[in-house]
Amino acid sequence: MKNRVVVTGLGICAPNGVTLADFTKTLQEGSSGISFQQELKELNFGCQVAGKPKLTSEYINKYFTPLQLKGLNASGLVYGVIAGTDAWIDAGLSKAEEDEPDWDSGIIFGTGILGVDKFRESIHFIDAGNTRRLGSTSVIQTMASGISAYLGGILGTGNQVTTNSSACTTGTEGVIMAYDRILAGKAKRILTGSCSDSGPYVWGGFDAMRILPRKHNDSPATASRPLSASASGFVPGSGAGALVLESLQSAKQRGAKIYAEVLGGAINSGGQRGGGSMTAPNSISVQRCIKMALKNSGVGSKDIEAINGHLTATGKDPVEVLNWSLALERSGLDFPYINSFKGIMGHGLAAAGSMECVAALLQFKEGQIFGNVNIVDLHPEIEKLVDKSRIPVKTIDYKPKTIAKASFGFGDVNACVIFKTFKD
């Protein structure tokens, strides 16, 4: 019989909350995690607002040893370790004993680029002819797999420990990769997630592309406007989300709580053909990805009760909604509930998929669909496709049974995962 895969732990380090409780509350209330960034103003950024987790050094100290804290200058690594460790604890799991790793547990924890601030620090040493001053911390904080390596060492996992990278698809892709590995019987549990650094060196390239909003520097909470006619670009974000995926058998043996079942998913690419490019998705491939996810999950399009979209708040949101509509063959009042969490947390880039999967799953636990914020002017193209009532602007009480979550990324890559309330 096929292994069933369930989610038994969640962890978060997001602009709108660094604990599950705070994160949930802000999503329910629609309170923004986006704030004005003085640093970006001083550097003459067009967009001077961003989403950045609010952490104190006391809080960070709880997750790292004094040695790990020495020279630590990689924000994504900090976010990832916090979210990953918390998810592990939330799942009721403990760190492996000193002498032997936990052979059945692995880590697939993605990122886009890790430790850019550390890398910048290293570059200054190197350019000054002072390479020896880098010490031993430069490599481990700037290698992409630094995040999975740190978590692997903290938790003592003995299965596959790796880092995936597929731009803004990274987090959702990781969930599907973890699901596949458990399904294949190669691991009992995988800590999956993704993280993204904060700061000008990550966000600068997007500002230069002029795809970030420039008119909301005085009103950060209203800057990110997914699904709106007045959407003028995505607000750059950062943080980390983490999920423990586990075989149902293992979860039952441990008596673990179960947030939801991962029914399946799909990953594909538009090949930068047929209208797709480095930065824009091929719509046909997006639709195929959604349809394949349904097929792989053994559900029909009518079964989807809620969608958590990618929906970044650029002019492309109507195209995404159209793709959902065509893939599901549903529209108007028949369309599922749809929301975007980017209005509250901004676009977490490589961290977006995992932070949003965590949020989407919390909707099962709360029996709610979290509201969209900043829609005062629903985009007319979207309103033609979807009845307004399906796009809640306030959190509503509704117990979804099946949720579809998708992420799309630069390079024309797509991932769609289907979650369902767990029933034995």
Binding site: L67, R133, S136
Partner: protein, 84 residues
């Protein structure tokens, strides 16, 4: 007195690099950094940098190769400080 000062300062530098099962009280002048104190060899380069900062000296590659024990480190520090 000078030696005792070096020794205490050095112990403070070494402390964060000790693995969980080794305490600062396990450090003696004869302790071998890697074989006895179980310090990760990658961290030896960090100890060298910390020593440079704390004693305002610069260690060459040869010095680093010779720095096997706490006593070695004190001798090198003394030499560098005196020749300054």
């Amino acid at each position: 007195m000078k030696e005792e000062n070096y020794y205490q300062k050095l112990k403070g530098i070494i402390k964060p690099y000790l693995p969980e099962d080794v305490t600062i009280d396990d450090i003696s002048p004869d302790s071998h950094f890697i074989n006895e104190l179980n310090i990760n060899s990658a961290n030896l380069v960090d100890i060298v940098l910390d020593v440079e900062d704390a004693f305002d000296i610069t260690l060459e590659n040869d010095d680093m190769d010779q720095m096997q024990t706490v006593n070695d480190a004190m001798a090198i520090i003394d030499k560098k400080r005196t020749s300054k």
